[in-house]
């Protein structure tokens, strides 16, 4: 009901600019419980505020243009006390408590069975799952969630303040060094949403995004089991050469590819990087040629990011590295 009304108002107002907000990173198309509450709250406030504004504007017009009797009524003490004092006190108090109730303010959240720690790095997301059995799974720059199950996220940062925001799922929450902030996400339907760092955190802040993949619980389980596994061995001569180059040029000093000698923890874990929906924290799509571009020109694609540019490789070597990394699914 609320939504139909909202859509009507939207269309009626002809707010074409708002259509830019639709889609995978829009708070207007919620796919999570908290985002739905925020959406409801937003529309109630917007519509109620619009109605009050229209009434006030009408009264103002009447006061300027109306006849003496109408103006006398508007000037009456009753109206001033009723509409000017009582109504705001009552409606704002009601709104405040309804807001508390709607957003479950102060509600103790039970930690979910599967917990996820997300650390805001410069400028990417370090993601670690811990399941019921205490198994931890390291990954990066992508979050998978089981539909219908609340998932507790522990948000932190090693150095600068970031803010974790997936508009389709929930409100934003800061990631503060030395502090653990807890956010619970419950996806209500399967699909892909996009998240974005929402607190200026340095040069590459605008290119610090990620995708959230909400899956049916069974599918999520299968994904988590696969993600926990070691990397697939390379297939084909080109990918094999890529693996050799990866090892010989010290990539493993910063990146981990589990199941190989690469165990670095400075940069994102690449064990299953080929299966992700983006590269470099959603700075690039995940295509073979984008791996090559990133390796050679990371400093131009994402200025100030911490990975040194590797302009030492030939085109063939870059293609081999890209084939190897793309194959890490």
């Amino acid at each position: 009901m609320m939504h139909r009304l909202a859509r009507l108002l939207w269309l009626a107002s002809g707010a074409l600019a708002l259509t830019a907000c639709a889609g995978e990173q829009s708070a207007f198309t919620p796919k999570g419980i908290e985002a739905e509450r925020i959406d409801t709250l937003f529309w109630v406030m917007t519509i109620a505020g619009g109605v009050i504004f229209a009434v006030v504007a009408g009264l103002t017009l009447a006061a300027m243009l109306g006849g003496p009797r109408l103006r006398a009524k508007i000037a009456s003490e009753k109206l001033v006390i009723g509409a000017g004092i009582l109504f705001p006190v009552v409606s704002l108090t009601a709104l405040l408590f309804w807001g508390f109730m709607l957003m479950r303010a102060g509600e103790a959240t039970e930690p979910s069975a599967i917990r996820v720690s997300i650390s805001g790095e410069r400028w990417w997301w370090r993601v670690t799952y811990e399941d019921e059995a205490g198994r931890t799974v390291d990954t990066a720059n992508e979050l998978h969630l089981p539909v219908g199950q609340p998932v507790t996220l522990t948000l932190t940062s090693p150095d600068v303040i970031h803010s974790f925001w997936v508009p389709q799922l929930a409100g934003k929450l800061d990631m503060i060094p030395g502090r653990e902030n807890i956010l619970t996400l419950t996806a209500t339907q399967p699909g892909i949403s996009r998240g974005q760092c929402a607190e200026y955190c340095g040069g590459a802040h605008a290119l610090m995004s990620f995708y959230v993949v909400a899956q049916e619980p069974d599918e999520f389980r299968r994904w988590l089991d696969a993600e926990a596994g070691a990397a697939r061995p390379p297939e084909g001569a080109e990918a094999l050469e890529g693996q050799r180059l990866f090892a010989a040029h010290g990539c493993g000093a910063c990146h981990a590819v589990r199941g190989t000698e690469a165990l670095g923890t400075i940069g994102p874990d690449l064990t299953h990087v080929g299966s992700r929906h983006s590269l470099a924290a959603a700075a690039l799509p995940n295509r073979t040629e984008d791996f090559a571009r990133w390796i050679r020109d990371s400093d131009h694609i994402k200025p100030e990011n911490l990975m040194p540019p590797y302009r030492i490789f030939s085109e063939e070597e870059l293609a081999a590295l890209a084939a190897y990394l793309e194959g890490l699914r």
Binding site: P158, G252, I266, D299, L306, Y310
Partner: protein, 374 residues
Amino acid sequence: MIDRLSEKLPPLSRLQRLGVSLAIVVGVLVIAGGVFVLSGTYNIAAGRDHLSVTTWLLEVVRDRSIAARTSNIKAPPLDDPDLIELGARHYRDACSFCHGTPGTPKNPVVAQMLPAPPDLTLSPERYTPEELYWIIENGLKYTGMPAWSAEHRGDEVWSAVAFIMDLHRNGPARYAAIAAEVPPASMEGEEGGDLAPLAECVTCHGDGKRPPVSDLVPSLNGQSRSYLARALDEYRGLVRPSGVMAVAADGLSDAQVEALASYYAGLPDVRGSMSPVEGDAAKGREIALSGFRDGNVPACAACHAGAGRAANASLEGLSASYITGQLNLWRNGERADSGHGAIMMPIAKRLTEQQIKDVAAYYQAEAVAQEEAR
């Protein structure tokens, strides 16, 4: 008619008359100057000295300009033998053609330059070390003195200053011995085939029997052939900044680069007495072998050991002075024009000065890794 015109004009005030006369004088001067410049009256010949007033004016301008630009420069200790030894050899290769061998008569060709390049033995009486540094780094307009052939390599420039100060203190005897190290024949090229330039390399870098003459000069023994060839190629192409090596590598052919690289790659570890270091080798070892995640610093060994040794410098046994010098170049944003330099720069920027010293102390103490099949 003129009378009538002058009657019509208002009488000029004193100030106006002065202005008109001034304009006439300036006009005449401009025309005279133009005639002087365009007629070719001025004799540009180097064989004819300046008027003494011109010489005086040029010298005042030069010395005031130098003095005005040296207030922020601070000399390091210049009695450091590492600086003097390197400076002496660079003087021999780059400066001696014009400035001559101290204590011997000037090259007659160069003696006809105007101004003639001075004998540097006496320079410290006229200039402070800081002023000498500025002159050597920047060169002097209208004199034939060039700027240092690599930008932002003040560390190298100090070696030349240290040599000049030593020359002034101790006389030319030591330099005469250094100048004689390179047999003149090696300059001609063909005698040793592609290894002909080796005679020059050896005088600084040493060889299978002698260590480098200075801690500022890296030992090349046992470095990989491909790394050495790449380094020479980068010096030759002015991609890797070094005024000293730009001179040494200038004009090397591809075959010579390969021959020299192969020669040094095959030499055994020859260690001189390197000066003690300020760093903590144990802390340096931690950074070198493991890196540290909090600072986003990967382990040096990830690229400089194991499989990476084929393409990158082997750091074991390199002097701490050389390692700190290079890391500080990167830390200051230099040496980043080459592909490999661009990788090192962001990493070196994450190190503190103390961490650089620690890493250098660790690697200086390590034995050169001699491996088969490089």
